[in-house]
Symmetry: C2
Subunit: 350 residues, 2 copies
Amino acid sequence: MSESVLVLGGGPAGLSAAQALVAAGQQVVLVDKADRLGGAPILSGYARLVPSGEWARDAIGGMVARVEASPTVRVVLGQKVTAFDGQPGAFTATLSSGERLKVGAAILCSGFTHFDSVNKPEWGFGTYPDVVTTTQVEQMMSSGKGVRCPSDGRKPKRVAILLCVGSRDRQIGREWCSKICCTVSANIAMEIREELPDCNVYVYYMDIRTYGLYEDKYYWESQELHKVKYIKARIAEVTSDGQRLIVKGEDTLVKRPITIPFDMVVHAIGMDPNLDNLEIAATFGIKLEKHGHIQRAPTYSAMCGTSRRGVFVAGAAIGPETIDDSIAQGQAAGFAAFGVLRGAMPVAAE
Amino acid sequence: MSESVLVLGGGPAGLSAAQALVAAGQQVVLVDKADRLGGAPILSGYARLVPSGEWARDAIGGMVARVEASPTVRVVLGQKVTAFDGQPGAFTATLSSGERLKVGAAILCSGFTHFDSVNKPEWGFGTYPDVVTTTQVEQMMSSGKGVRCPSDGRKPKRVAILLCVGSRDRQIGREWCSKICCTVSANIAMEIREELPDCNVYVYYMDIRTYGLYEDKYYWESQELHKVKYIKARIAEVTSDGQRLIVKGEDTLVKRPITIPFDMVVHAIGMDPNLDNLEIAATFGIKLEKHGHIQRAPTYSAMCGTSRRGVFVAGAAIGPETIDDSIAQGQAAGFAAFGVLRGAMPVAAE
């Protein structure tokens, strides 16, 4: 029986799975289609993470460094898995290079794809340069350049963050909630206020979902310590008067139309299923749920299962997920795969 | 070095940790102060779980049965841990019986305490028998007796579910969100509508937090398939006109006072930190966070750590948590503890 586990995807979940398997003395092959490890937090240049406040480059970069330094992990970059055959304990994975690997189990940590705001054209992204995404603001922060209007480099004095861009929106086929955008947006709002104390930040929301312990750390702190303003609203469109961006909609609480000027408008973009999921499902012989995420098996008898025995899943591949929960699921999936290698743990199947 | 791991608490997280350690060939001592395993879902008689739809007695009961049937798990019921000394790999745990156990690591899965609605007296619990909690409604369902008004056993025709009872409420010292009550309440509302098709169910909310994939499965389905009505409101008090309960407050969207009669009012009660946490913290020499939950170590380098090396934590002991995430964390903590036994995995400390 092979002692190796295939981990697909080198983001937080995949790094966690690899880290855990290494600690248990297992061999890991970590495959990522990108040319470096780290997943969205590294490839998209996230800034300070929720809820630790650590820089992504330190937190997730540290995970990358530990995995890369491990003699029992083989990292394969810039490649995909093109075929996956066999049985639990004795699978063969074929890479796009043609190389065939013997592995005992696989863990799919293939993550998500950021919503492309071009698909919400009435909110101005792609038309006005000062309409940006949360990811772009993270990049402004993590690059050290600070939050500036892309059109002319000025410091914005008024910023609007629009929640649920590509989430909870049936008109564009995204009826799910992306789970973490409310909290990330509250965090970004506080960071902008810290960097630019003269800048007013408004968050336009349907429901504020700073769930669990995020409630006081993000929702209350952002309002009380940082004077971020929250407005329950339906946004109709983002236009421009030639000088500034104009956000139009309805304030849902006072039932009045609003037409408000801003220097910068930030789309809090949601988490789409990974665009590769159809291909991944076909390759690994697993099922997707109705939105296109990887379908998870029932959790009570075996954690992190898919519809195929010996193939596990963790993190945002299952649906919108936080980094902390992705890390926990990665470790749990690592243990599940370890059980397959030992021939001991029940392996989930439909 | 001992090969045994102490797991404190036999709810979903603890059962998951035990299950995972067994699969890895480890010895487990599972200690619970209650006289049976299962934690809140079993002891409080939950009905169908979110999101699987399985009955708690089958889903969590199945976990209990598997753990109890395992020859490498010793279950100790009706006892607490009164002392915990030593170092990772060589701890000594003392039980309330006086027995001393040698264990290599410990996993705290000590869960939460349901909010006691008596602490929100203006909302009628304890005064009017037909004001009940979500837990009581779950018990009505899981007992097979169905949802009935406790005062006279009649089938309610109008039910109000009040969200955030003991959550997001600074007046009573609970500023956190309890994370899962919105989704559980939507689920309960659908179950009531299925059992009693003539009964109208209204949910009074501040923000609806059916996050992630719960959004369409619970929030939309409850409205569109089951005609559950959601009203954004601030509830002032629950009284009685002698015949029916009267919910008074303000509809936040139309800015109008509301005074509405109901047959039954359900408090969607939140998750308090376990009342035993101060004692647990003192016994195990670990820190609590400011609200009284067990403080989790940073997650990037080692999952599920506490402020003491070799002592791990999983599930609702950390803060309000779902059953699925508690199970994932339990398995992840199991792997972390396994790493301590192997002397391989980094163990978290402050």
